[in-house]
C-alpha cells in the first residue's frame, strides 16, 4: 500500500469516516458534531479548505489530547499532517467541543477538559499575534 491509497480509494475511506463518527476518540466524530452530522468529503473540503484526500486523512485521525500542552502539540501535528490551517482547525475543534459540552451529541462531559485546553490555546495565540 502506498501513501496515496486514500486518493485511489476515496469511497472506501469515506465510508470508514462515516462509521467513525460514532467514536468520540476520532476527529470524524468532532467534525460530525461541528458540521451537524455532515461529514461528506464535499462538506469537509469546503469547511477545511483542503484537498479531498487531506479531509479524509484528517477525519481518520484521533482527537487532540486533553492535557493543555499535548493539546497544542497535537493540533499542530494534525494541521501539519493534513495540510489544514491551524487556526481554522482550532476554531472547528472549539466549536465542536462547545456543542458537546452543552450535550448536543449526548456524549459525556469529559470533553470539558479539551474545551478549556482549546480556549487556552486560542487565547494565547491571539496574545502572540498582537
Amino acid at each position: 500500500m502506498t501513501a496515496d491509497t486514500i486518493s485511489t480509494n476515496p469511497d472506501l475511506f469515506e465510508r470508514a469516516v462515516a462509521s467513525l463518527t460514532q467514536r468520540p476518540s476520532f476527529m470524524a466524530h468532532l467534525l460530525s458534531v461541528a458540521f451537524a452530522g455532515d461529514v461528506s468529503t464535499a462538506r469537509l473540503v469546503a469547511e477545511l479548505d483542503c484537498a479531498p484526500a487531506s479531509a479524509i486523512r484528517l477525519a481518520l485521525m484521533r482527537v487532540p489530547r486533553n492535557d493543555r500542552k499535548m493539546f497544542r502539540e497535537d493540533v499542530d501535528r494534525i494541521s501539519e499532517a493534513a495540510g489544514v490551517d491551524r487556526m481554522l482547525l482550532l476554531a472547528i475543534i472549539r466549536q465542536a467541543q462547545s456543542l458537546i459540552a452543552f450535550g448536543v451529541d449526548g456524549s459525556a462531559n469529559d470533553q470539558q477538559g479539551m474545551l478549556l485546553a482549546a480556549r487556552d490555546v486560542v487565547q494565547r495565540s491571539d496574545d502572540q499575534e498582537d
Binding site: 500500500m1 501513501a3 491509497t5 486514500i6 480509494n9 472506501l12 475511506f13 465510508r15 470508514a16 462509521s19 467513525l20 467514536r23 476518540s25 476520532f26 476527529m27 452530522g37 486523512r57 484528517l58 481518520l60 485521525m61 484521533r62 482527537v63 487532540p64 489530547r65 499535548m70 497535537d74 501535528r77 494534525i78 499532517a81 493534513a82 452543552f102 450535550g103 448536543v104 451529541d105 449526548g106
Partner: protein
C-alpha cells in the same frame, strides 16, 4: 501485496505514544488488506463486503483506542494480530446470525408504511422491542413525558425543540428549557444503560 512489518511496528509505537496522526497511517496501510482477509476467510460463511468493512474497521478503531492490546514483545506481526481479531469477531457474528435465523425463521418480516415510504421491520427487532417494553417499561418510563422523550431519543433526535414540545416546556426561557430537556434525556439514557447492564 506485502505489508512492511517495520513500518507497522513504527505506526504502533506512535499509537502507543499518543500521536493523533498515526491512526490515519494505520488505516491507509492496513484497512484494505484487512477487508480482503475478512472476505477471503469468511465469505463462505456469510460475511459480505459491507460486513467485512465493518469487521476491519472495528478491529482498527479498537486498536487505535487501545494500542496496548497488541504487545510487540510477544512476537507476531501487528497485521497477524488484527487478522486474529477480525477472525474472532467474524466467528461471533456468524454464530449470532445462525441463532437469529433459527429463532426467527417462523416469524414474518413486518412491512411498515410511513409517509409513502415502506420499511421492513425484522421480526427480531419487533419482538425484542415489545418484549422489552412489556417487561421493563415501568423502569424506563417513570414520569409524565418519559415515553415521548424515549421515542425521540431512540430516533436519535438531536434537536432540543421536539423534546421541549413533547414535554410542554416551550414557554420556559431557553437556558431553563435546554437544561430540563438535557436532564430528562440523561435520565432516560441512564435507565437504559442500567437495564443494558442487567440484560
Amino acid at each position: 501485496m506485502s505489508l512492511d512489518p517495520e513500518k507497522l511496528a513504527s505506526i504502533h509505537a506512535r499509537l502507543v505514544d499518543g500521536d493523533p496522526t498515526a491512526s490515519t497511517d494505520l488505516f491507509e496501510i492496513v484497512y484494505g488488506p484487512l477487508i480482503g482477509h475478512a472476505l477471503k476467510r469468511h465469505r463462505a460463511f456469510g460475511v459480505n463486503h459491507d460486513q467485512a468493512e465493518d469487521l476491519a474497521l472495528k478491529a482498527l478503531a479498537d486498536l487505535v483506542e487501545q494500542p496496548a492490546q497488541f504487545d510487540p514483545t510477544k512476537g507476531g506481526s501487528l497485521f497477524g494480530f488484527l487478522c486474529m481479531v477480525v477472525d474472532g469477531d467474524a466467528i461471533n457474528f456468524g454464530k449470532m446470525n445462525k441463532n437469529r435465523a433459527e429463532k426467527f425463521s417462523q416469524h414474518a418480516v413486518e412491512i411498515l408504511e410511513v409517509g409513502g415510504n415502506t420499511y421492513e421491520i425484522a421480526p427480531e427487532i419487533r419482538i425484542d422491542a415489545v418484549h422489552i417494553m412489556e417487561k421493563y417499561g415501568p423502569e424506563i418510563i417513570v414520569d409524565e413525558g418519559d415515553e415521548k422523550v424515549l421515542n425521540l431519543y431512540l430516533q436519535e433526535e438531536r434537536d432540543y425543540a421536539p423534546y421541549a414540545r413533547a414535554l410542554g416546556i416551550e414557554h420556559l426561557a431557553p437556558k431553563e428549557r435546554n437544561a430540563e430537556v438535557k436532564r430528562r434525556k440523561d435520565r432516560i439514557e441512564m435507565r437504559l444503560k442500567r437495564l443494558r447492564k442487567r440484560l
